[in-house]
């Protein structure tokens, strides 16, 4: 993976630039000591690292605007950063860039329960939105595994999903409006405190633009009444392929569970060792969760059990209590952490049509053999969003490259099966150079023209999303 060469004239001008930032920001908002900026050298994709020139932590939309005006004037690249949990290198700096962190934009501005919405500053964490409204009987639906720490800003940049988006959709489906600062410092509102913004859906294109179109400082989020109850069932199978078929059948028969999650044996064992979630030791495990009243839950689970029975399950275990349910989800949401305890790994994020689950699992298994690297599978099966985890030894020469190459093969397999490179983690730097496998040059050209409109100098998160060579002309202009 290559990053663009840095602009030395910016690096040499560091002291003057820091002076400019200090003039407009409240005290203690600029981090420039190389010892301290090191904490920002990477995000959740730790294979690539580079400390930024400085880190700026504004407290208001106006401060963000002032920062961007300076960077626009001085042509300094800006890397937006929420909590730094991106798994695709979305917040990876270059040495001539400043990081604009949202961590101090952390106020919940308005709880409008009556109208089913909240307005927040985007540095708030995903989970804190739900915490703010749960006493009123509501929740915020997108639930990435990192929800304890990840920010709404990052969620909007990456259009984050989570385990429960099979029923409730991803960030873009739960976002009503934003306040956004463009690269020239101008501040505007898109959408607002109502359903459906009129005219061209700029809000829709800002969400998921990986911080390349503007800095979102405030968001209006849709909140949803909590269901009366929810309960998962564990279904164990002898093979990944059978589990894949079962998923397709459940959906095809008119049941829409709130989540259908998949784990293979490697992952099940790691999670069991880590949190003791009570998972059966099987080749492939499905966690299927349904919602409603106690009776509605029973009925839906009965239907699911009937369908599962047709696929010769080797284990069927309903959660019997809230405590058990919590543990089951804790295990699932800790899967990445649990795998990290036993091995270095790279986490992929391809999506395929649900009907192709058996094909993709077979394909991954033969690619894994071909490369001699183990792959653990844990993913959102209901919507076909895979998270293959490639295990490798980061300290062994050449192993990272081998792992990257296997990763690329797996993602290209997803594209070949009618899927895409990224379901919820974003392209970042990680999948940037694979974009030409999914899109034609013309498809990418028109996407880049959208960036031209919002950020003509290509200063916002410039070396992400698009292959370096095709964005080069725009970046160097």
């Amino acid at each position: 993976m290559e990053m663009p060469s840095s602009n030395n004239s910016i690096i040499n001008d560091k002291d003057r630039l820091i002076g400019l930032f200090n003039q407009i920001l409240s005290p203690n908002s600029v981090i420039s000591d190389p010892y301290e900026t090191k904490a920002y050298e990477c995000d959740g994709l730790t294979a690539y690292k580079c400390p930024p020139l400085a880190v700026l932590l504004p407290r208001t939309t106006e401060e963000v605007s002032e920062i961007l005006k300076i960077c626009h004037e001085e042509k300094v690249p800006v890397i937006p950063r929420g909590a730094g949990t991106s798994l695709s290198g979305g917040a990876l700096p270059t040495s001539d860039s400043v990081i604009l962190g949202t961590s101090r934009l952390n106020n919940i501005l308005d709880l409008d329960i009556e109208n089913r919405m909240v307005r927040v500053q985007t540095g708030v964490t995903n989970l804190s939105v739900t915490e703010a409204v749960e006493n009123e009987g509501f929740f915020y639906a997108p639930d990435p595994s990192s929800q304890l720490v990840c920010t709404i800003a990052g969620n909007i940049a990456m259009n984050s999903g989570g385990a429960h988006c099979l029923k409730y959709g991803v960030t873009t489906n739960n976002l009503l409006g934003v306040k956004i600062v463009l690269m020239d410092g101008s501040i505007m509102e898109l959408g607002g405190e109502y359903l459906d913004s009129g005219g061209l859906d700029l809000l829709g294109v800002v969400c998921g633009s990986e911080g390349q179109l503007g800095i979102v400082t405030e968001a209006v989020l849709k909140i949803i009444p909590k269901p009366e109850g929810a309960r998962p069932i564990l279904l164990g199978f002898d093979s990944n392929v059978i589990a894949g078929n079962c998923v397709s059948d459940i959906i095809g028969e008119g049941i829409l569970p709130v989540a259908i999650e998949f784990m293979d044996r490697l992952c099940i064992r790691a999670c069991e060792d880590f949190v003791g979630a009570g998972y059966p030791d099987v080749e492939a495990l499905l966690i299927v969760e349904v919602e409603g009243s106690a009776k509605e839950i029973d009925e839906q689970l009965d239907r699911i059990k009937v369908i599962a029975s047709r696929h010769n399950p080797v284990a069927m275990k309903e959660s019997k209590s809230d405590k058990e349910s919590k543990l089951i989800w804790l295990g699932r949401k800790s899967a990445f952490g649990a795998m990290g305890r036993i091995n270095d790994y790279m986490c992929l994020d391809g999506t395929i049509p649900v009907s192709r689950l058996p094909d993709v699992l077979e394909g991954i298994s033969s690619l894994s053999e071909k490369y001699g690297l183990a792959v653990a599978n844990v993913f959102h099966a209901g919507d076909g969003n895979l998270h293959p985890l490639i295990l490798f030894n980061a300290n062994q020469e050449g192993e990272l490259e081998k792992c990257e190459s296997l990763g690329a093969d797996i993602l290209n397999l997803c594209v070949d099966l009618g899927g895409c490179l990224s379901g919820e983690h974003g392209v970042g730097v990680e999948k940037r150079d694979l974009m030409t496998n999914q899109f034609s040059r013309q498809d990418l050209e028109i996407q880049m023209r959208v960036k031209d409109v919002f950020d003509p100098d290509w200063l916002l998160n410039p070396a992400k999303v698009f292959p370096l060579e095709i964005s080069m002309e725009r970046r160097l202009n």
């Binding site: 505007m188 405190e193 359903l195 061209l200 959906i251 649900v354």
Partner: protein, 378 residues
């Protein structure tokens, strides 16, 4: 023009300098009438992929919606957002197409629970103003690969590109429905009841209030859908919220329920009535004061959908409703009016100068020669 294929359409557009009006079934003449030659997409009418087990359907833009409904019905699935059929209101004929539905981001009563048309468009193909064939999104439910141009094209009224194929997420259709009907409620109480229902855990999928129902009396409608026992359970539980204060009838006849919500969806109350029709989007708890303010100034008739998020309004021809909507938290669209009044009053809501400028620049990037639906939005 009736291009036979996407590639023929692209060839016809490439190098063209005179204006073009993309057309599906010609049933939604909503925007400002634009000069130019109509390009009908009726020959692009194949359903290219339908996978019930993956909840996805891909169809060419000119595919009639009735074909889509038939195919989905067979497998017990649906387009969850209930696209509006505008033929009655706009006195148009022809067959609504899936491309037209997407180009206008058309959603009906269920939008309040499941989201809008734009939330179910997972990918599309289009021909831009220079004749390039572009694809965005894909055929899978979750996709964050590259910018979401699909959202940008959805609801762009054919001004950024001519949509040639769309991929949609579909959902299982409910097997049963029940509607709580409450008669005679004053508007204030009606809106409170609707919002309280939406704020309950009972998954309300329709929340409308007619100030004057078919029999002339106000009627408030709350829809519940799903498996039979679940629907009946929720109808009972939700009724308990209100039964002390109001009298509730539970309608379970599926035909009557279908007709009732079609009436709301297709703006039935204002069909075959003289006057201009406006669609106002606002915050639910601001709906009533907004309507009261309007009534003090002009002759106006309204009904509410989406628990007040959506207000349909009928006014005398040529009334500039926006004069009375200063400070509106939302936006108003002039859906039905004479061409003269449309151009004089403007169909779409004014936006900030900055937003307008951004949109103009985007339009220029997609259609540098400004040949696609000239002047319709921008």
């Amino acid at each position: 023009m009736r291009p036979a294929s996407e590639s023929e359409l692209a060839d016809l557009i490439a190098g063209r300098t005179s204006p073009v009006i993309p057309c599906g079934g010609d049933t939604r003449p909503i925007g400002l009438p634009s000069a130019g030659k109509k390009f009908y997409l009726g020959n692009l009418n194949r359903v290219t992929q339908y996978e019930p087990g993956a909840l996805t359907l891909v169809a060419e833009a000119g595919t009639p919606l009735k074909t889509i409904f038939e195919i989905l019905n067979e497998k017990g699935q649906m387009l969850p957002f209930e696209p509006v059929d505008y033929r009655g209101l706009l006195e148009s004929s022809g067959e609504p197409t899936i491309g037209g539905m997407v180009a206008t981001n058309s959603s009906g009563p269920r939008r309040v629970k499941v989201g809008a048309c734009r939330d179910y468009v997972i990918g599309l193909r289009f021909v831009d103003g220079e004749g390039n064939i572009i694809k965005s999104g894909g055929r899978v439910m979750k996709n964050v690969t590259g910018y979401d141009l699909t959202k940008l094209l959805t609801g762009s009224f054919g001004t950024l590109g001519i949509i040639t194929e769309v991929a949609l997420k579909v959902l299982p259709a409910p097997t049963h429905a029940a509607v709580l009907l409450i008669e005679g409620l004053p508007e204030k109480l009606a809106l409170e009841v609707l919002n309280r229902s939406l704020n309950s855990p009972f998954e309300v999928s329709g929340a409308a209030h007619l100030c004057s129902g078919v029999d002339g009396h106000p009627v408030t409608m709350i829809r519940l859908e799903g498996f039979q026992s679940s629907v009946m359970y929720r109808a009972e539980e939700l009724s308990k919220y209100f039964e002390d204060t109001v009298s509730i009838t539970v309608e379970t006849d599926s035909e009557r329920i279908r007709e009732g919500w079609k009436y709301i969806r297709d703006v039935g109350p204002f069909q075959n009535r003289k006057g201009d029709v406006w669609k106002i989007i606002t915050k639910p708890n601001e709906a009533l004061s907004l309507v009261k303010g309007l009534r003090e100034s002009i002759d106006i008739e309204v009904f509410y959908d989406w628990a007040g998020n959506l207000i349909w309004a009928l006014v005398h021809e040529g009334t500039n409703l926006r004069d009375y909507l200063q400070g509106l938290n939302g936006h108003a669209t002039l859906i039905r009016a004479s061409d003269d009044n449309k151009s004089h009053l403007e169909v779409f809501h004014q936006q900030s100068i900055m937003e307008l400028e951004l949109k103009k620049r985007l339009k220029h990037k997609f259609d540098p020669g400004n040949i696609l639906n000239q002047g319709m939005i921008l």
